[in-house]
Symmetry: none
Subunit: 252 residues, 2 copies
Amino acid sequence: MGISQEISYRLERLILDGGLAPGQKIPSERQLANRLGVSRAIVREALHELQGRGVVETLHGKGSFVASIVPTTEDLDDRSPLMHLFAGHPRTLYDLLEVREQLEGQAALLAAQRATSIDRHRITKAFRLLGNTDPLTNAKPDHGFHQAIVEASHNPILVHVLNALKNMMLLTVQASVANLNPREEMRHSIMKQHKQIYQAIMAGKPDTARKAAMAHVRFVGDSMRNLESQGTKMIRMPLVTGTSEAGVSTYT
Amino acid sequence: MGISQEISYRLERLILDGGLAPGQKIPSERQLANRLGVSRAIVREALHELQGRGVVETLHGKGSFVASIVPTTEDLDDRSPLMHLFAGHPRTLYDLLEVREQLEGQAALLAAQRATSIDRHRITKAFRLLGNTDPLTNAKPDHGFHQAIVEASHNPILVHVLNALKNMMLLTVQASVANLNPREEMRHSIMKQHKQIYQAIMAGKPDTARKAAMAHVRFVGDSMRNLESQGTKMIRMPLVTGTSEAGVSTYT
DNA sequence: ATTGCCAACTGGTCAGACCAGTTTTTAACC
DNA sequence: GGTTAAAAACTGGTCTGACCAGTTGGCAAT
């Protein structure tokens, strides 16, 4: 292991062990270089390594600081390195939607096939709740509706995977509702799509349900693409702020 | 945003978009510096950033390489409570296959659409390797073939999720090849299916590729179902034994 | 007391040199 | 010719010293 790796390791351990608190200023590069007996280039490489890992952040002219990392959060899934890798890349959002299109479609198909009377009741309840609330201010009904459908597929793996994808979307972008719903006609389209999915599942038409769900996801993705190309700023999340319970839906 | 960040971002996007395949060698620091018109120090800082993020790894005297993304999938971690819940339940296997059918299909479709000449070369190489080896004794060629296809989809999320599912299957059941291949006609069918997938992707027929891949997964599932209903004992794994590198494929 | 400038921080980038591993080429030997 | 060992030409790792570019704070002129 090279010197720079060793430096970065020592700094990281210092930070994680609490020797340096979040937000605290790290000694200047020149100071570190002198104190550690290495060149400044090495210090910079070590800092960049930690920077890529999200442990420190650097401001030109000010200095380097310990990033306010997720503190006591119990979210075990979000801390995966993959998250840091994916998050922040715009394309990731569309990759995510590309996969979700398939899985949401499959979930709707299976729900139409296998939903029990209890499932139907829960879906209906969630659907009713959907109409009353403004999705912009409250994302929970939206989550609930999709969740009820997925659970009605009676495929635990599918539930698990889609949930993981939902978490990834929360990390990647705070979009969908916040970006889409403000437009009146969009809200209308989305409600219409929800209704189509609902009716297809209730009528026990698997293929119709699948197509409706896929079209729904695709519509969201296309709408985002349009907004982005039009220069409308997407509300992106600060990445580290643990506000995963924000009032914004990653569905629609 | 500084130059080094920009460089690291560009490189990372190149990798994520598939411009650089996992394991592939990255141009030398001096070459990158010249080609990008920056100093070597900047290139090194950018590489360290990616290194800290786990995207690249560097060997002294050899060069820098794209880290095989998703090496240890933590998202669906082995230690996750869900694993203990899922593993051992026979139904889980079919739930898994149900999801995989969709995603493998999508992967094949995207591969047919987006495979670059490099991707095609890698897929062809993996396909050739497939014919020479007996899948029963060596599962790696089989893994390699499917892996090459998924990576040609140029959707990192898809790669990630399918890899996680593969790991789950390894945990759940040591099946497929061990159970299926002993039957001569099955081995023949599977080889035929592989060939269909391969040709469709090479011919750039997305929908054909998708259907072939889905039929392939479905065939495996159905075959397992048949075997199980006929009382043929499935070789199930001891659940906790970390022999994930066993010589048995979870594909076909 | 306010304003404005300048000096002393901070990180960002560059150039060139040298050390340390790895690979390839070359040349000597059998 | 074929084998082997030295040497040259790669690769990344580290150092030095310089200069540019933002930020901050103090000191002087108003």
